[in-house]
């Protein structure tokens, strides 16, 4: 057993005390997010596994199998903290405050042997720096998972298919239309056409910031697929600047029914279905056409 390991093993209690004190003293401690008992349990677990890992004699390579329990605990802590809403600084401080605690104990024990103290501190710092890198890595990974999940949720909720009238579906598209979203839009729309037996679908692109050739290609594909199912598709919400851009790009949308607004698309749809909407004399009921 080497010196570092021995030192850790023998002074585990003392280190833990100082470490806990450091953490509790830190103003950034989020006692609203984690209880003191929980923090103590986590810290004790990490310190024990660190002590047994260093006992193997390896104080350099944290990717060696004997460090697996240590990195596992750290990964666990970082990911839970990322989800709980800790900041990266707070998570990073967790390991760095352990470094302080060990340094403090080493200084006490080896105050009469400066040379050895220097060597020990050096090894220990390198080791803990590496470990704190692990926490940063996994912290960011944890956050990325959150973002990915939100991405999925956004694409789920952002493509609603609305049944506006008997046989008429409307699909407001908001945001950029990429391949993945087109796929979802198309699937939802086609499924809903089957479910409701609709014969007209209105794709409203008022909320699409820019229509480039890829977006146009996706729209054309969606329209073709709808037609294959025997339904007619109208694209609405083509703003003036989008119309000009489409012409300059040279995209041919001439065999697709397009309208400037959802209202006019709806009128066309009503006409196709033989539905008439007119202002009632009694001023009751629907009055879409003013």
């Amino acid at each position: 057993m080497n010196n570092t390991a021995q030192l850790l093993q023998n002074n585990k209690k003392r280190i833990l005390e100082i470490w806990m004190q450091n953490q509790l003293d830190d103003e950034a401690l989020r006692d609203d997010l984690i209880s003191n008992e929980e923090l103590r349990r986590q810290s004790e677990e990490l310190l024990s596994s660190l002590a047994s890992a260093t006992a193997s004699g390896n104080v350099e390579n944290i990717y060696a199998p004997e460090y697996e329990p240590v990195t596992e605990i750290l990964t666990d802590i970082s990911i839970t903290r990322a989800r709980q809403g800790f900041s990266p600084r707070e998570t990073g401080m967790y390991v760095l405050s352990l470094k302080q605690a060990i340094s403090q104990v080493m200084e006490n024990k080896l105050s009469d042997k400066p040379e050895q103290l220097y060597k020990e501190l050096n090894t220990m710092h390198r080791l803990l720096d590496n470990l704190s890198m692990v926490t940063f890595d996994t912290f960011i990974k944890g956050r990325e998972e959150v973002i990915l999940r939100q991405n999925d949720e956004i694409s789920e909720i952002s493509t609603p298919v609305i049944r506006v009238w008997e046989g008429i579906l409307a699909l407001p598209i908001i945001g950029t239309l990429d391949s993945a979203r087109t796929q979802i839009v198309m699937e939802n729309l086609l499924q809903e056409i089957v479910n409701t037996g609709s014969s007209i679908a209105i794709l409203d692109i008022s909320g699409v910031p820019a229509v480039d050739s890829l977006v146009a290609q996706h729209l054309i594909k969606t329209v073709s697929a709808t037609r294959l199912m025997g339904a007619e598709c109208i694209i609405s919400g083509i703003r003036a600047e989008i119309a000009q851009t489409i012409v300059h790009l040279g995209i041919d949308l001439s065999n697709i029914k397009t309208k400037a607004s959802l209202a006019s698309a709806l009128q066309v749809a009503f006409a196709m279905r033989g539905v008439e909407v007119r202002k009632s004399n009694k001023n009751t009921g629907l009055n879409l056409l003013r």
Partner: protein, 136 residues
């Protein structure tokens, strides 16, 4: 004269929307009208998609330039992809080596005031577009 200069790395599809927003920001800053903004953004969007699709990304230089009292936005798309064997052919409507409409390059050229493309097979492609504030 270059009034402002900025670069952006494009590595994956998630970079496209922030890049477009950045272009919009510049266009708004110099007071470009909505139609011209949309033209520039659409052209930029075509080129950045090309860069991602054929060269797995690259670097974009975003500049606000001023020349003889008029201001404009200049975007330079640089990639180190496979390059284009026949640029003239690539600039033709409806030509595509991918399965797209083949309107990206010629369409982008029609949308902006100035368009320049340089490409060498095996070395990469550089496309520079400039759009002036008043669109002329």
């Amino acid at each position: 004269m270059i009034l402002s200069k900025d670069t952006m790395q494009i590595v994956h599809e998630q970079n496209v929307v922030p890049f477009r927003n950045r272009v919009k920001e510049l266009a708004t800053k110099i007071g470009m009208s909505l139609v011209n903004q949309t033209k520039l953004i659409t052209a930029a969007s075509e080129l950045v998609r090309n860069m991602l699709k054929y060269a797995n990304g690259g670097k974009i230089l975003l500049e606000i330039i001023s020349n003889n009292g008029r201001t404009g936005v200049r975007l330079t798309f640089m990639d180190e992809g496979p390059g284009i064997a026949d640029v003239q052919q690539a600039m033709r409507d409806g030509f595509s080596t991918g399965k797209s409409l083949g309107l990206g390059l010629p369409g982008a050229k029609r949308l902006v005031n100035e368009f320049d493309i340089k490409s060498k097979p095996g070395e990469g492609t550089t496309v520079t577009i400039t759009h002036w504030k008043n669109g002329r």
